[in-house]
Symmetry: C2
């Protein structure tokens, strides 16, 4: 993944379409299970089917949509076990990244994370909490020294984004979440990796539990 691929890449239509679709799926305007017809999308976006196909394949690779040959693409619908799997992986990956990151984590990153927390408090638009949430977490992991680990974490955030947003749209959970975020940040400031990891694990399991209570883990 290094080398020539690092230069600035021309943005292709397919990438732009993928970005728009990813956001639409994350914010719920494209519900789970929705069929993504190539012709429809091509018409709607004003391009031909080819870049749409590329975008769909990209999202398929990210796990956000499922493609079946001759049957087309659908917005991936996760059932309870899949969400549990994703949260289990997040626990594993993010715990590792956090404990790797803390020893060399600079104050600038911590300040950045703090600022994101403030922005979450101030942000009225629910749709923006998802990205801010992700930004906060990734800032804390940024010094982990393993780029591949970071992109894996980001991918799982993307995959679970829809469900996290459901969580965040509940106002009281948002308070809990923010409190845990501040605990996490405090532990990081103390450079106490063990405590930070335990706070993170609690944060994730609280999220799972809230999802379960809300009954979101029953239906596909």
């Amino acid at each position: 993944m290094r080398g020539f691929a690092e230069m600035q890449r021309p943005q292709t239509v397919a990438e732009q379409v993928a970005n728009v679709l990813r956001e639409a799926i994350a914010d719920g305007s494209l519900a789970a299970g929705t069929a993504l017809r190539q012709d429809d999308l091509a018409l709607r976006f004003g391009f031909s089917r080819m870049p749409i196909r590329d975008a769909l394949r990209q999202l398929d690779a990210e796990g956000i949509v499922q493609i079946h040959p001759t049957k087309g693409a659908h917005v991936a619908s996760m059932d309870a076990t899949e969400i549990r799997e994703i949260f289990a992986l997040r626990d594993l990956l993010e715990s590792e990244a956090l404990s790797l990151s803390i020893p060399t984590l600079g104050d600038d990153k911590l300040d950045e994370a703090a600022e994101v927390l403030a922005r979450i408090d101030a942000e009225p638009d629910v749709a923006r909490w998802g990205v801010l949430n992700r930004t906060f977490h990734l800032a804390l992991y940024s010094a982990c020294g393993n780029a591949r680990l970071l992109s894996l974490i980001e991918a799982h955030h993307n995959a679970a984004d829809r469900y996290v947003r459901m969580l965040l749209s509940s106002l009281d959970y948002r308070g809990v979440s923010q409190a845990e975020h501040r605990d996490l940040l405090a532990a990081c400031r103390k450079r106490d990796a063990a405590e930070a990891v335990s706070v993170l694990k609690k944060h994730l399991s609280d999220g799972m539990e809230t999802l379960a209570k809300a009954g979101m883990l029953r239906k596909g």
Copy 2:
């Protein structure tokens, strides 16, 4: 990743092309950095560029090739840090999978793994060791109860396959590797998760070290 995608899928041309290319890259006949021209491949495979494009995009998602708009696709070349990152992730992911799997791992899977080891001993064709190696490992993890974790592990095996094959083509490392495999299997038979994980970690770090000694971790 569940649902309708699980039914039997018609095999599309793109998938077949992707499989052939993946194997060619893994066995070294397509060296790292090689440019993959869509026209060339289309001509060689006897199809148009469209399914080739799909295949390349698929492999790009797997991290095996890099695609740059207007510059085309190249076989991904990993430098030392990337290989280290992959092995670090394998350590993390496979240790977790193994310790999750062992408590419920059935004897049938253990026998299966043992049989794969025998086949590795008997197999004269170097090109086949890579898949057998992967099959062995995945058999031990198969009861981990997290399908996503398993496919993540498989993806990382694929990404590192080329380098693992370099390792395996060295006869004396192959001996070390097989010995470690048998230790691992023995620990699993005892259902001793802690020991199994420690053997696995040693197995992986030995592999890394052998790669480093062979100087494969210097150049991109």
